[in-house]
Symmetry: C2
Subunit: 248 residues, 2 copies
C-alpha cells in the first residue's frame, strides 16, 4: 500500500513549506527575529507541528543554512563542469563563485557563521549536523579533482601534501577575507578602497606561493579583472549588466 509513502511525501512537502516560509521571514527581518510560533502560524499549523520537523529553533536554522548550502554547492558543480580554463583558473573560479555567492546571499553568510558558533551548533540535532557535513562532499571532490589535474599536468608540485590539504590554503584565504569583511567598519578603518580587488589579488598571491603554474602577476589589475569577468560569463552565466550589479 502506498499509504506510508504518501504520508512521507506529505511530510517532506510540509517541511519544505516551513523552510520556504522561514526563509522569507528571515530574509525580511533577519534570522534573529524569527519566532517559532509566528512561523507556524504563518503556515497555518500549530507550534507543536513545527517541532515534528525541527528539534529546536537552532535545528531549524541549520536546516535553512543547509538548504542554501545546496545552492552553494552548485558553484562547485559549475566549476567542475567548466572546461574552458586551466586548473589554476578553475581554482580561481571557485574564489569568484564564493565571493559572488556571499554577496548575493548576505543573510546566508551570517547565518552560516551563526550556526557554526558552538553555542548554536550544540543545540542542533545529530541528523541535521550529519546533513550539513555531507553537503561538503561534492565540494571536496571538485576541489581535489582540480588540484589533481594540476599535478598531473605538471602545473603544480604537491610536495607531499594531499590535494585537500593543498586546497585548504586558498580556502582559508576565502574564509578569512569573508570573516574580516564581516567585521563592521574594519576595511574602512584600514583605508581599503576595493576589498574585492584585494581579495582576488590575495588569492593570486597564494596560488603563486604554491608555485601553481602559470604564475600570475597579482599587481596586474587589468588581467585579474578580465579573468574575473570571463569566469562570471563562462562559468556562472552572469552577463554584462548582472556582472556589474554583482560587482558594485
Amino acid at each position: 500500500m502506498g499509504t506510508r509513502e504518501r504520508k512521507q511525501k506529505e511530510f517532506s512537502l510540509r517541511e519544505a513549506l516551513f523552510l520556504e516560509a522561514a526563509e522569507a521571514m528571515v530574509s525580511e527581518e533577519g534570522f534573529l527575529h524569527l519566532q517559532m510560533a509566528r512561523l507556524a502560524e504563518a503556515c497555518d499549523y500549530a507550534t507543536g507541528t513545527l517541532y515534528q520537523h525541527f528539534s529546536s529553533k537552532e535545528d531549524l536554522l541549520l536546516a535553512l543554512a543547509n538548504r542554501r548550502m545546496e545552492a552553494f554547492v552548485d558553484i562547485f558543480r559549475k566549476v567542475g563542469a567548466w572546461q574552458g580554463g586551466t586548473p589554476r583558473e578553475r581554482m580561481f573560479a571557485i574564489a569568484v563563485g564564493d565571493l559572488d555567492f556571499s554577496r548575493h546571499h548576505p543573510e546566508h553568510a551570517k547565518l552560516t557563521q551563526y550556526v557554526h558558533a558552538e553555542a548554536v551548533w550544540e543545540n542542533t540535532s545529530p541528523e541535521r549536523r550529519e546533513q550539513a557535513m555531507c553537503c561538503t562532499g561534492p565540494v571536496g571532490e571538485v576541489v581535489a579533482g582540480i588540484v589533481q589535474e594540476a599535478i598531473d599536468r605538471g602545473d603544480l608540485d604537491a610536495q607531499g601534501l594531499s590535494p585537500l590539504e593543498l586546497a585548504c590554503g586558498p580556502w582559508s584565504v576565502c574564509e578569512g577575507m569573508r570573516a574580516l569583511s564581516h567585521v563592521q567598519g574594519l576595511f574602512e578603518s584600514l583605508n581599503i578602497r576595493s576589498p574585492e580587488r584585494l581579495f582576488f589579488r590575495q588569492v593570486q598571491v597564494h596560488l603563486n606561493g604554491l608555485n601553481w603554474a602559470p604564475l600570475a602577476d597579482p599587481a596586474d589589475h587589468a588581467a585579474t579583472d578580465a579573468l574575473v569577468a570571463r569566469v562570471r560569463r563562462e562559468v556562472f552565466d552572469v552577463s554584462g549588466p548582472d556582472a556589474r550589479e554583482v560587482r558594485s
Copy 2:
C-alpha cells in the same frame, strides 16, 4: 572634592569584579550557560546593579571578549619589541602567537566568533563596540611597521599596496584556518594529520607568494618547526616543556 572621583573608582572596580567573576564562570561552564542573575549573586549584588554596567547580556560578553583582546594585543607588542629576526620572521611570529593564543584560550576564540555574529553584535552598546574597535589600533601599527621595514630593507615589493592591505593576506590565512578548524570534524574528514604544520606551511606559502625575502621552503618541516620553536622561545618566553604542552 574627591567624592565624584572616588565613586568613579569604586564603580570601575566593581566592573572589574563582575568581569573577573564572569570570566571564571565562563571558563568553567562555557559562555552560553552564563546567567545574569547567577553572576550578580555570585558577586553579592542585585541583578539590577549588573545592568548599570552592561546594557545587556551580549554587552557583557563583548566586554569579556575585549578584556581578553588586550592580552591578545600583547602578542603584537611582544613581536613589535622583538629584535631577533628578519621582518619576514616577525610576520611569521605573529602567526605563531595567534595560533598559540587561540589554543591557550579556546573559549576566547569561540566567544569572539559569537559576539561578532551580527545577531549578537547588534545587541551590544555603541560604547562597547567602540572599545572593541580601538583595541585593534596597536595591532595595525605593529603589522604596518613590520611590512614597512621589509619594504625599506628591500625584502618586499609592495607593488602599490599599503602596508595594511598587504598584511590582510597573511591575516586572512590566520583567520581562515581558525574558522576552518572550528568546523567540528572538518579536518578529520579531510584526513588532515597535523593542522598545526599545515597552518604554518600555508603562512609560509603566502609570504612566498608575496615574494617576501628571504623565501622559505614550505615543504621543509624541520626548518619551519625550528623557526616556530625559536619564536616561542625568544618572543613569547615559552620554554621547552611549555612549548611541548602548547604544541600538543
